[in-house]
Amino acid sequence: MSSRASLAPGGSVFRRRRDGWLGLALVLPALVIFAAFTYYPFFKNFQMGLFKAAPFPNLPSRYVGTAQFTTMLGSADFWDSVKSTAIYALITVPLGVIGGLVMAVLAHQQLRGIRIFRTIFSSSVVSSAAVAAVVFQVILSPQTGYLQTLGIHLPDITSSPTWGLPAMALVSAWQFVGLAFIILTAGLQSLPDEIMEASRVDGATAWTRLWRITFPLLSPTIFFCGVVGVIFSLQSFGQIDIMIGTSNATYTHTNVLIYAIYRLLHVSQNTGLAACYSIALFVITLLVTLIQFRLLEKRVHYAH
């Protein structure tokens, strides 16, 4: 076949062109899907931010330029949402990563029945936000909750402006801890055994091995886990919607950006402002991820 192609005049050009078409045909289905569901909505968002939408989809929108972006940046609600989002992430990510790390280290033992524990530790990752929310609601309810039946009288945490946001973040952390456990367990299992063996021969204690060898070698995985955790926490929605809801007064204290976008869309029917909030969330996620790469990556030890 190759001899036939090379015999033909301009054969290599012909083959390159043919491969080009083949490549295009192969990526086209994925490209169409990405274009329809990722790129188009992404750029459409910017366009929507320039129009003040009528509250109902059958009525026309009005072009207002960047007025809605200005409104958003001057709005106390927006900055409250940014603050809530930051607090939410600051609780969820460290709790999730540390919890996952502790469980991964504990489960990285050759003990009988350890697989059962690994399954239990990772189970929260397969629990949907709805399930997690309902489980915690049942535990925390001041009227009928399990804690109440155990004689622990808590205030109505999910209706409390002080405790509402930490309670939601706790639910998210519980969910994320399973994912962190899986990522960090995979990281631990990929660490080279010979280094551990050598350290044991050299007389290093378990604590020294953990601090001086395991953690430094695991740092790229912990870093990755942190980045995933931040993105996970910035997109938490279900548990807030189920446990708080828009009509509950506490929602203003748990009005993280993703929930504010939902509220603007479905309660206020304000698609233009919701688009501005979406862009803001995108910018914040991008900036936080870039900062994480810039600052934390320097402290990460990559084995060569």
Partner: protein, 474 residues
């Protein structure tokens, strides 16, 4: 040859994508719109007119069980009673919000898929009108002499509650009011002789109940509806421009000495150990005030009469509760206005043929006729919106009638004016959401002044109403 095949494959993908897009766009084609109502078209029709009824009643689809089951019985009765119109029920178990979302999604498709009759929350009336997607029932009434005669049998306040900018936009169907629920056994233990009629008596009774071992004494739901109710019984408006009935409301007006005094009393109740419970959330959260009565944590609460059906069916499980129902306590023990109606109404979307609009009106008349209304109100806990349905309603409810009569008297007796017909609020859901933080702040430390907090809520809600109005070009 091979290149040519690959080119064809690539071209096929592009064509398929283009076809899919075109098909999607075409499927969203605008539905036929009818802007007038001619009730005689049903009688003239030679074939059956099919219409869809979109409603939000909770409960299963079992005949006679739950509000949805009772409504299904009425629909089946209507379908069986004549052959000109056939109604298909479309239930949104997610409630009014779900129906609203589904309806506005239909509007995005040019009305394609929209029902011919739709049930909306009463307080969504202004927004329903603002969609510019309805045939006002006023046009059906104007063309229906028989109904004009029948109109006198309705509780006029119920009809008037659906008047938006001077036009009857929809028909009332279900009406409920807030009432005071109390436990007679708790009263006996606390040595309380009768239900409190003033807020000061309520505060005193709270202390007696707490002393008798009821942890909270009084449980109050953080519900903006209470503020509307207090204004209504004092003949005051929640929004301007005739409470939104005479023309579009442009501002809220709820911060006045009446609401300030009420909230000051509520603050005292909560500060003294009363429960301030959530408006929404899970069943245990949204009805924490009712559960507090059931669990002997409180002896008094306020809630809707629409919950009476569920409460009475659960009562046999709670031997510790003997239910009492009374009007909401007021500041002085007297009312200058009357209790506003709240609930849901029936609207006719314009997306249908003239015959379907006519059929929609015929069906609405059936649902609100004397017999249907007696059956609907007796089985659900909603109040009858017709005076001529009362006899059958009372007979059906037997011993429980005293509970319902309290609510019906609150609603039907007294003044009938714009202030007591319930507010017509632009961007109601947003106003409701804005109110939440205020109620939250008012019912906890550091116990801010009601004047300041209510003014803050009034400013926020007014700003949101103006933003909403401006997005519609007003």
């Amino acid at each position: 040859m091979r290149t040519s095949s690959l080119t064809k494959v690539a071209a096929s993908f592009v064509l398929a994508a283009t076809s899919l897009t075109s098909a999607t766009l075409l499927s969203g084609a605008t539905a036929q719109a009818t802007t007038s109502c001619d009730p005689s078209l049903v009688a003239k029709s030679s074939s059956t007119i099919n219409i869809t009824f979109e409603e939000s009643m909770p409960g299963g689809a079992v005949s006679g069980t739950g509000n949805h089951g009772v409504l299904l019985d009425l629909i089946n009765k209507y379908n069986a009673s004549q052959h000109k119109v056939h109604v298909t029920d479309s239930n949104d178990s997610g409630g009014y919000g779900s129906t609203w979302t589904k309806y506005t999604a239909d509007l995005a498709n040019g009305g394609s898929g929209a029902p011919q009759v739709v049930q909306f929350d009463q307080f969504d009336s202004q927004e329903a009108v603002d969609t510019q997607s309805l045939v006002p029932v006023a046009s059906c009434i104007a063309a229906d002499p028989a109904f004009q005669k029948d109109k006198k049998n309705f509780v006029q306040k119920a009809l008037n509650s659906y008047v938006v900018s001077g036009t009857q936009a929809g028909m009332p169907f279900s009406v409920s009011t807030p009432v005071m629920y109390y436990n007679l056994q708790a009263f006996k233990k606390a040595k309380i002789a009768k239900a409190p009629t003033t807020m000061d008596q309520l505060i005193a009774d709270e202390a007696l109940l707490q002393h008798a071992g009821y942890r909270y004494g009084v449980a109050i739901k953080k519900d903006p509806w209470l503020t509307m109710a207090w204004l209504s019984v004092n003949d005051q408006a929640f929004v301007n421009n005739g409470n939104g009935h005479s023309s579009r409301a442009t501002a809220t007006t709820f911060n006045n000495s009446t609401t300030q005094q009420y909230w000051s009393k509520v603050q005292t109740i909560i500060r003294n150990g009363g429960l301030a419970s959530s408006l929404t959330g899970s069943l245990t959260q949204a009805y924490a005030n009712i559960f507090a009565i059931a669990n002997d944590q409180a002896g008094i609460t306020f809630d809707t009469t629409a919950a009476l059906g569920s409460i009475s069916s659960a009562l046999p499980l709670f031997k510790n509760v003997t239910l009492g129902v009374a009007p909401l306590p007021t500041l002085s023990g007297k009312t200058t206005g009357s209790m506003l109606p709240a609930g849901n109404g029936l609207f006719i979307p314009k997306y249908g043929t003239a015959a379907q609009v006519s059929a929609a009106w015929d069906f609405i008349k059936f649902l609100t006729n004397k017999t249907s209304m007696a059956s609907w109100s007796a089985s659900t806990g909603y109040l009858p919106i017709r005076t001529d349905s009362q006899a059958a309603w009372k007979t059906a409810l037997k011993k429980q009638i005293s509970w319902y009569q309290v609510a019906f008297d609150q609603f039907s007796k007294g003044l009938n004016d714009n202030n007591t017909q319930g507010p017509v609020i632009p961007d109601y859901e947003q106003v409701l959401a804005d109110f939440g933080p205020t109620l939250d702040a008012l019912t906890q430390s550091p116990w801010p002044s009601p004047t300041t907090e209510l003014q803050h809520a009034q400013n926020t809600t007014t700003s949101d109403i103006q933003s909403y109005n401006s997005s519609l070009g007003y």
